[in-house]
Assembly symmetry: C2
Amino acid sequence: MATKTAYPFRVEPQEVDFSLRITLAALGGNILNIAGIDAHSKGFGVDALNKDNFSWVLSRIAFEFDRRPAEYADYEISTWISDYGRMLSTRNFELTDRSGVRFGRVVSQWCMLDLTKRTAVDLRAVAESHNEAIVDVPSPAEKPCKVPAPATEPVLTHRVAYTDIDFNRHVNTMRYIELMLDVLPIERFAEERPLRLDINFLKEARYGDTLSVAIEERAAQTLVEIRNDGGAAVCRGAFEWR
Amino acid sequence: MATKTAYPFRVEPQEVDFSLRITLAALGGNILNIAGIDAHSKGFGVDALNKDNFSWVLSRIAFEFDRRPAEYADYEISTWISDYGRMLSTRNFELTDRSGVRFGRVVSQWCMLDLTKRTAVDLRAVAESHNEAIVDVPSPAEKPCKVPAPATEPVLTHRVAYTDIDFNRHVNTMRYIELMLDVLPIERFAEERPLRLDINFLKEARYGDTLSVAIEERAAQTLVEIRNDGGAAVCRGAFEWR
């Protein structure tokens, strides 16, 4: 049976914000990159799937960070797949500091897309390589929740340009996260409070689309929604500082 | 006497565009990060300078890329300081592929800013640590040129938000480069042609500023300018595909 795989990191100067701690965007980017590298090294990365014109698509993700490490701090991201069903594969992450204290827990759910038919692939079709990668350790946090829609008007618009898109010409996941961070009050990043962030990816946005971003404070949550030209939700996030 | 320092890289999936080759933004980011890491390891990084409330500021940079490496390709970035004057220190970079073929040459010029007085520091004041780092190898390409201003109206505007700014609350260098790439015709990135790109950094932009970007094709060059709310040039770039 497989075991968790751990990757070493150090907070680099270009990853910190004015609080001199690593940004959520940089942490999220490193976590997603590790997902890609780990899948690649195990033979079911995007590059291998592309031969069948399949691709992994992130459906939902939940991040829990107790704190954001400071510049030059060493930390480790470990990852494992805990289970998969017909439609979704669950990839988990834990972030630990140099003294072994766990400060981050992430649960992500991925579906496999047939790029020709534009439909989801039944994951039982790839069971062979996938089964070998399963690690018998449960997710370190609650699975990502369904995020409610904010009932507010957009406060930011952004036309999708070259540097926003990935190899598929779709907006890359990190840019969605950055757009959500950009509508939060900037003071939120000066604080050092534990955060849970749930994100649902609902539709793809493409080069030339104009996206708009709405935000609503509702009870303990800050809800953010990215909408396309037609007003449909592309992506929703719920921030909860604890 | 010091020698060039080399850092190994691999083109990661999140760094490629739809042509499946590394983006100029990713290459530029890695090059600038190496500048920071190399200065830090030699004792004159931003962190050491900050004790005196000094900081390195990038004044001009010229990139020459014969091609952009493909996904998962290994390459190396080596860097060295070739010389410095009263105001500017010259840091060079060479990019070589796995078979030792050089495909990139970069020359950058940095000044040291006294953040309290907002004036440039005479580099002779830091000669001691700097002298030891000088490598007696000339710059691998022509020094960065003065870039002329395009005489056109802006085609893109962008309000500076949280994810655009660095630890100093100024727009980070990579975001300027991304904004310049975002106004180019997207077809330019489908081509595989040698490129020289000269960039001049003229003013700082801050959180909340609204930037606008103008572009003009002039003879063999594509000129791009980022302007602030008052219409003053913040940054200029000249792209020349050869």
